[in-house]
Amino acid sequence: MRPGYVVRRIGFYVLICAITLFFAVPMLWIASAPFDASPGLGVHWPDWTLENIRKTLDHPYAMHSMVNSLLICVTTAVAVTAFAALASYALSRVRIPGRDALLYGLLLLSSVVTGTAAMVPIFVMMFQLGLIDSRFGVALVMTGGLLPAAIFILKDFVDAVPKSYEESARVFGASTGQILRDVVLPVARPGLATIMVWAFVNSWGNFLVPFLLIRSIDKQPGAVLMQTLTDEGGSVNLQVLPVFSLLFSIPVVVLYLLVNSRYGFRFHGGIKS
């Protein structure tokens, strides 16, 4: 047993290392290029400098766009979480006919209606609603797109909350609102946190919606700004871009770490079979 065991242990660690490397190596660029005096689209040992960071901080819109991103994505994440929580709770606890078909249908739609063609109706509608050039409007559109999958995933979390909690509160005379506030929400918190991160991450990288719906440069989020970090011929501005990429990644990573350490980042995503 011993030799076999050792071989298996070694095999295990080799596999683990290989997989970790596979995931880590592509990230080298973002770790090196921001601090490289001559950044390129390749990875090499950097010629250390902080000049790029200064350049990025001096960029007229870089920092501001991060604030916009935060505004838009926090709104989106909160709205998605709140609405999805309400909807998934009702769908989980009350038998509504055709519920599962509805969920699958919406999920299908949401993965398709992201293309450029759909932007025409969305634009026209937002225009009629007077929500052009509004960060709130952008958040609304993103919320609509993310909700189906959020409900789909969150319903599994809510399904996992023991029903006896609510029943027991109900026997004590708690109203629906009290049950939600005192029992269901606190218990489903890990799920809510996960969904919030997920919604945040998804809206964080969205370029097309804010680009088309926002007019003022000082309202544009970072995802849009990243597209503009080029010169007149379309070549990438390699001094600002890597640093900005790094900065732009920090909020999602921080949020993830926060949620992961507090609740554990878990997914029951549609695992009910």
Binding site: P162, Y165, S168, R170, F172, A174, S175, D182, V183, R189
Partner: protein
């Protein structure tokens, strides 16, 4: 404090299962009442219908003479302890206990006071700041009880409150629960599938099967004179022997190749019956015996502590009999079994109903 009156109650699930099926029941004020039955017989459903968590499909539920059939659970004045306790994992013990008061917007100061008083009654002092996850099973059960008591319901409903505890703890909790109920005097309905628990705790027991009542009576009645073979089979810590037999004219029944005395008043001779006799009421002798008896050979013996359960093969039928410790015969030994007539129960073979039902109590007191 209040009684519960149930009339013609039926609860049908959306899938068409009639989990409770036309039940009439009266629980007296201050009574400790047990609902007993095998898994799936509808005990939980009945309890939940009383609580209002399931809607009655037919019939009425009255608590304290008020019809509550259509009342919201929170307004029926009942308190309930769930099988999994349903303690809120994110609240401290103290918050859990006083949650019913918080719902009613009782001031925080009063709540604290109630929490510490109730915790004192249930020996939970010192645990008030813990979360449920940091408590042992027995402590959790007491917190759930404390919460139910703090809600000041007129009726306490308990759904298998002991089944999550380990064997030793269960015995302690049993005694504790019985004493608590006696002290509070609160009307209590208690669901269990463990007959020993029901016997030990209840003032009266309702034995259910498939949503229907099979017997209603004191532990003694239910144990000594099960009204039918279903109850007979279900009650008792060793399984009752239920054997096909035939009534003989002479006050005996022939069974398993031998015969036993029986009160055959109401039974015609030659009637085919099911003979029921508890292992505890059979006497095993290794020597000769006079009078009606069964003869057979010992198969195995199981130690029950102060007693042993011996399985005897009588003419191909295995019959259980208890003997005091240290007196078990060796496997293979020939033995004879006898029983007092008052302990031999006769059931019809068709419906399984008790036949020699004349004079319950006289029969039970041998």
């Amino acid at each position: 404090m209040a009684g519960i009156d149930i009339e013609g109650l039926a609860t049908v699930y959306p899938n068409g299962v009639r989990a409770v099926d036309g039940l009439d029941l009266h629980v007296a004020d201050g009574e400790f009442f047990a609902l007993l039955g095998p898994s799936g017989c509808g005990k939980t459903t009945l309890l939940r219908t009383i609580a209002g968590l399931e809607a009655a499909s037919e019939g009425t539920v009255r608590i304290d003479a008020t019809d509550v059939t259509r009342t919201e659970p929170g307004k029926r004045g009942v308190a309930m302890v769930f099988q999994d306790y349903a303690l809120f994992p994110h609240m401290s013990v103290s918050e859990n206990i006083t949650y019913p008061l918080k719902v009613r917007r009782v001031a925080a100061a009063t709540r604290l006071e109630v929490a510490s008083r109730t915790a004192g009654e249930l020996s939970l002092d010192g645990l008030l700041e813990r979360k449920p996850g940091q408590l042992s099973g027995g402590q959790q059960q007491r917190v759930a009880l404390a919460r139910a008591i703090a809600s000041e319901g007129k009726v306490l409903l308990l759904d298998e409150p002991l089944s999550n505890l380990d064997a030793r703890l269960r015995l302690e909790a049993r005694t504790f629960l019985k004493k608590l109920q006696r002290d509070l005097g609160i009307t209590t309905v208690f669901v269990t599938h463990d007959q020993a628990e029901a016997l030990a705790l209840a003032d009266r027991i309702a034995v259910m099967d498939s949503g229907k009542l099979r017997q209603l009576g004191s532990p003694r009645e239910v144990f000594a004179r099960p009204a039918n073979t279903f109850v007979a089979n279900f009650i008792g810590s060793t399984p009752m022997n239920l054997l096909p037999g035939k009534v003989l004219g002479d006050g005996t029944v022939s069974v398993a190749g031998g015969s036993l005395p029986a009160t055959t008043v109401s039974t015609p001779a030659d009637a085919e019956v099911t003979v029921g006799i508890r292992p505890e009421y059979l006497t095993l002798s290794t020597g000769d015996v006079s009078g009606p008896s069964l003869r057979g050979e010992v198969v195995v013996a199981e130690n029950l502590g102060t007693q042993s359960l011996v399985s005897v093969d009588c003419d191909g039928t295995l019959i259980g009999v208890t003997v005091p410790e240290e007196t078990e015969p060796a496997p293979g030994a020939p033995v004879a079994l006898t029983a007092p007539a008052s302990r031999v129960l006769l059931y019809t073979q068709e419906t399984g109903e008790l036949l020699n039902s004349a004079d319950h109590t006289a029969g039970a007191r041998s």
